[in-house]
């Protein structure tokens, strides 16, 4: 496996924080004005609640231009805060990602509860991954974190463990999308992986992005990143990781099983029943004319060389 490639993103190409924070300074007011009248149009935001996070460059980088931080933190699907793309940014202010613990249990020899401080004290790698949303857009994001396998080794999975189940968080008092008459789905959000997928070196538990801890809208304080699968597999604000023998339930599959499968591998050959997955729009910042081009979607989001062997012999059209 080509685990170590030359990191082609030179430090000079990464926008310094002051630049991206100041550039849109005047927009704060415009955002407030327009946000209330423009049907929830997501506007860039300066708001930064994140703290510095020490990282070392990890394997798996890409030469593609990064999606600007302000875009990664302004345009999110995190229905716990609302179904609009700007809701996670605008409505996550009450969420408290500290104190936080992650319980790892189930079919393991050493079930444990980790504090978030313990987890951020682990060596944090920077991984630059493509992220392909099931809605046919994509980003390139410099995550910080450690492999899920690092954590699994600490709890020693038993031989009977076949799957890993993840549980998000249910805090209606802090998460406005979980309150009120209309709820788009059952809470907490749940996700799952096969154990071999979970132990794959690409599978990351992210604690930060752009060298800082995660913002609430990105899944603070810790979330899953599985770059060869659609973005909804990347469960945010994880509280529990349970190893199981049976395939665990997953939120989108529970809701619309004919549209969202358990595997959810990025696959241009299998369309969503209502729209095409053959192409995607890369979100890179800028206006209409900067990034309006569609690009072809790659099998396994371009990570086929690393992960295709996990599915050899499987019918990926049936196991979408």
């Amino acid at each position: 496996m080509p685990a170590f490639r030359t990191p082609p993103v030179a430090p000079s190409r990464i926008t310094p924080k002051e630049a991206y924070l100041n550039r849109r300074g005047f927009l704060g007011m415009a955002g407030v004005l327009a946000g209330s009248t423009m049907a929830g149009v997501p506007l860039f935001s300066d708001e930064a609640r994140a703290a510095k996070l020490a990282t070392t460059p990890g394997p798996f980088v890409t030469s593609e231009p990064l999606t600007p931080r302000e875009t990664v933190t302004s345009y999110n699907n995190f229905y716990e805060f609302g179904t609009g793309k700007s809701d996670p940014l605008n409505r996550s202010g009450d969420f408290k990602p500290e104190p936080w613990t992650v319980t790892v249990d189930g079919l393991v020899a050493k079930p444990q509860t980790f504090t978030i401080e313990t987890l951020t004290a682990l060596p944090q790698e920077e991984r630059i991954y493509r992220m392909r949303c099931v809605e046919a857009w994509s980003m390139v994001i410099p995550w910080a974190g450690f492999t899920l396998n690092t954590l699994l080794e600490k709890v020693e999975p038993l031989g009977s463990a076949k799957y890993v189940a993840f549980t998000g968080v249910k805090r209606p008092e802090q998460m406005p999308g979980q309150r009120g008459f209309f709820q788009p789905m059952a809470w907490p959000y749940v996700e799952g992986l096969r154990l071999d997928e979970a132990r794959h070196p690409l599978t990351l538990l992210a604690t930060g992005l752009y060298g800082e801890t995660l913002e609430n809208q990105n899944g603070a304080p810790i979330r899953l990143v599985v770059p060869w699968k659609y973005g909804f597999k990347g469960i945010k604000s994880i509280t529990r990781i349970t190893l199981t023998e049976q395939q665990p339930p997953t939120s989108w599959n529970l809701m619309q099983p004919e549209e969202y499968g358990f595997y959810a591998n990025v696959n241009p050959a299998v369309d969503h029943p209502r729209w095409s997955q053959a192409s995607e729009r890369r979100i890179g910042g800028g206006g209409f004319f900067a990034n309006s081009g569609q690009r072809e979607t790659l099998p396994f989001n371009g990570y086929g060389a690393e992960v295709a062997h996990l599915y050899s012999g499987m019918d990926l059209k049936a196991n979408f």
């Binding site: 149009v41 506007l43 809605e135 857009w137 095409s276 910042g285």
Partner: protein, 220 residues
């Protein structure tokens, strides 16, 4: 309920003001998107904004008749502007889809049109609205006579197609989609139950209609 009486000049000015105000959301969205101020996928966000405003104006134009018949508020002088605004937003929405979203990739557009029910429904709404926009002038009204009213019932078809187009494009029904589904049920449901509800009031309405002849236009 009576609105303040307007002189013909004031009424004409208020209609133009409605056109100008109605176009502001689209123009503002275009400005934000063209100057890189919309986060994420500006093309998709602008496209959705235009579609939503089309739906809003279509709902408003179809609310004019129930408002007049149930509450006695007569907004018929502004109805054409509401309908035309809806049509212009639909045209802009489709243009953004063809030019910016699909980048005039005819193969992709053809595939959408033949394989994606929500795209077909959206195009159906455009096709239903086009003849209404074309015949929205007084000359067409006179020329078509009774048929004008029948033709303009296509607005109901456009609303249903537009609403389904919107809902099918979503991953889940959210509060906003439920709101517009509810509004559509009310607006079209009113037309269904109207014969039952209005039968006892017919005499009174007939009298009102004679009195209101100065503002007379066919009623949908």
């Amino acid at each position: 309920m009576d609105l303040p009486r307007l002189t013909p000049n004031q009424r004409s000015a208020s209609i133009w003001l409605l056109y100008v105000l109605g176009l502001i959301p689209g123009l503002w969205g275009f400005y934000l998107g063209a100057t890189g101020q919309i986060a994420g996928d500006p093309v998709r966000v602008f496209e959705h904004l235009l579609g939503l405003w089309a739906l809003r104006f279509l709902c408003l134009s179809l609310a004019v008749t129930p408002l007049r018949q149930l509450v006695g508020i007569n907004l018929i002088p502004w109805r054409r502007a509401l309908g035309l605004l809806a049509f212009w937003y639909v045209l802009a929405h489709v243009s953004v889809y063809l030019l910016l979203d699909r980048g005039l990739n005819l193969a992709a557009i053809g595939e959408d049109l033949t394989r994606r029910p929500y795209i077909m429904l959206g195009m159906g709404a455009l096709v239903a609205l086009a003849p209404l926009a074309i015949t929205s002038n007084f000359w067409s009204m006179r020329k078509l006579g009774k048929n004008w009213q029948a033709l303009h019932r296509l607005a109901y078809v456009a609303l249903v197609a537009g609403l389904l187009h919107y809902i099918l494009s979503l991953k889940v029904m959210d509060g906003e989609a439920i709101f517009y589904a509810g509004v559509t049920v009310l607006l079209l449901g009113y037309r269904l139950v109207r014969p039952l509800v209005r039968a006892p009031n017919r005499k009174k309405t007939a009298r009102q209609n004679t009195e209101n002849r100065s503002a007379d236009m066919p009623t949908r």
